[in-house]
Symmetry: C2
């Protein structure tokens, strides 16, 4: 839900003079993308997205995000493509904000993900990891293990108002994660937020990956762990082993997981649950009256964290280690 | 800002089988339209709006709204056109809601209305009133003078928390409006909500009127009064006489205002200010945490009401009575 910055027609006309995509016919605010202001832009040459980057996105990170999208597309990953200005720039300024025009991508995100979607996501994630290997830019993951304690400190005194015992759970889990977080697993470019609403499908075929605004360099298998949490739990909070197996097998079909990666996966999944639990808690406890963003329920990630704490090995995800080993 | 009801791809596929507009390629929630859930729908044959009517819209009123849009278009008014199913129906059911597919309209609403926009709106409003004369269906305006006291009663005990003296202002104004509200002015179909965000322009030319979900039968000049409040005040709350004159002259060029209508206009404008002040107060005082709708500021309509209370005659709107008389 997001249009934080509105755009006057005169400003848009002026902005479009830098591009070779014709004159605007209409632009409408889009209720997708929590971090930025998004408009659907129709010009005399076609349909585009117009994105104004809001303050939660650091301007200095934008070249990484936009460059990555261009790089991935040139490696066969379907993702939104920044339209360059006549001078070859992917980024401009509109209504006082950094702004970009992005190509329109067909498809709809799956409201009720099924096994067929998990297969496609596993495969696409592995391909993204492979395609990212020779991307030259770097971006540190500020929301990885070292970023979690500062988030916890922001809300530590208030979390027990949401659920009794939450402070102790988070505190002990943080100690554990900081102590055992793996240091030598294969790393590279990860999407870091590949939830169902960031994967488009067209009649059960994956048609694109979107929203690269958390992408960064981190442990590749951590991205897999994020997807296990995001795609394999049912609405009743049960873990669907069939979906997990499908996702992991599809991933390893494209990029084999090493024995170390497989062993670390349950811990990485605990970390992934912690990361989204913490940011949701911060959003939920800091929501301002009149905010246009409905905070996502943090407590569903308490359940996911507890589930992952109980996972002994990737057998609990429905796969035999031998089946995935390189 | 509105997507209250989400739609799964399977449901949409099924729904589109009733229509002759091809298969969907994408659908995205649109952040426009406060009352309903709106999606931009791209199919193999073009772009459309998909609207799911939420509970604030009475299902029994939908045939009036959809029928009116079709009627107006056949009389040369550019407005969104309901797409009929193969069986000739404008209305269906999707995700448990009444739903319609509406043709896409080009243009963008003016964020900073200028005189040229006021001229176009005045002219379009008069044409709408003329075109509505032979529309056979009727809809009572539940938000006209008789509907205001029940709204006031909902919030009377709390309004002084927003602004000291507001209770007395509203109470005395209601008495005045109920006593002097005109009974014998020309009536017909009015838009009743023709604010800048409901009028689309393409490079300073009006390209369409949208959002007919408050349309009803009422005093035609009351619709003019709504527009005076909606289009002729500046951000600093000053009244722009040039814009008012432009709007009124353009209107009367298409449909002359009778002497009675002209005389009543200041009172109608007080009523129009009261109507939007009351609904904004109700929305503002009843907003729920987590709501996706940011209530519009009610207090700007206190200022408009006070301005209109001070208007002696339409000369204060910048026009000579003789210039408008039939």
């Amino acid at each position: 839900m997001a249009v934080y910055t509105d755009v006057a027609e005169e400003e848009l006309t002026e902005f479009l003079r830098n591009y070779d995509i014709g004159k605007h016919l209409s632009y409408k605010g889009i209720a997708e993308g929590v971090e930025n202001s998004n408009f659907l832009l129709h010009t005399t040459t076609g349909y585009f997205f117009l994105t104004l980057y809001e303050k939660r996105v650091a301007v200095s990170d934008l070249p990484f995000f936009l460059g990555l999208m261009t790089h991935l597309a040139s490696h066969g990953i379907t993702c939104p493509q920044p339209v360059k200005t006549r001078r070859g720039e992917a980024l401009g300024t509109l209504a006082g904000r950094p702004a970009a025009i992005i190509g329109f991508l067909e498809g709809a995100w799956p409201r009720k993900p099924r096994v067929v979607h998990c297969v496609a996501v596993g495969r696409a994630l592995a391909k993204l990891h492979l395609a990212g290997q020779d991307f030259p830019m770097k971006r540190v993951n500020t929301l990885s293990v070292l970023g979690w304690r500062p988030l916890f400190d922001m809300i530590a005194s208030r979390v027990d108002t949401l659920q009794h015992g939450l402070h102790a759970l988070l505190s002990e889990e943080l100690d554990h994660l900081e102590k055992f977080w793996p240091k030598h697993l294969p790393d590279g470019v990860i999407h870091a937020d590949l939830f169902p609403d960031n994967v488009l499908f067209l009649r059960n075929r994956l048609s694109g990956l979107i929203d690269f605004y958390f992408a960064c360099n981190d442990i590749l298998a951590y991205d897999v762990a994020i997807c296990l949490n995001a795609w394999c739990f049912e609405n009743d909070h049960s873990f669907n082993v069939t979906k997990a197996r499908a996702l992991l097998n599809a991933y390893s079909h494209e990029r084999k997981l090493s024995a170390d990666e497989q062993e670390a996966l349950p811990l990485l999944a605990r970390g992934a649950a912690m990361r989204f639990l913490l940011t949701r808690l911060v959003d939920s406890l800091n929501v301002r009256p009149g905010s246009l963003v409905r905070p996502k329920d943090p407590l569903e990630y308490v359940r996911r964290l507890r589930f992952q704490q109980g996972v002994a090995s990737i057998r609990d995800y429905g796969v035999e280690q031998s089946g995935l080993v390189a």
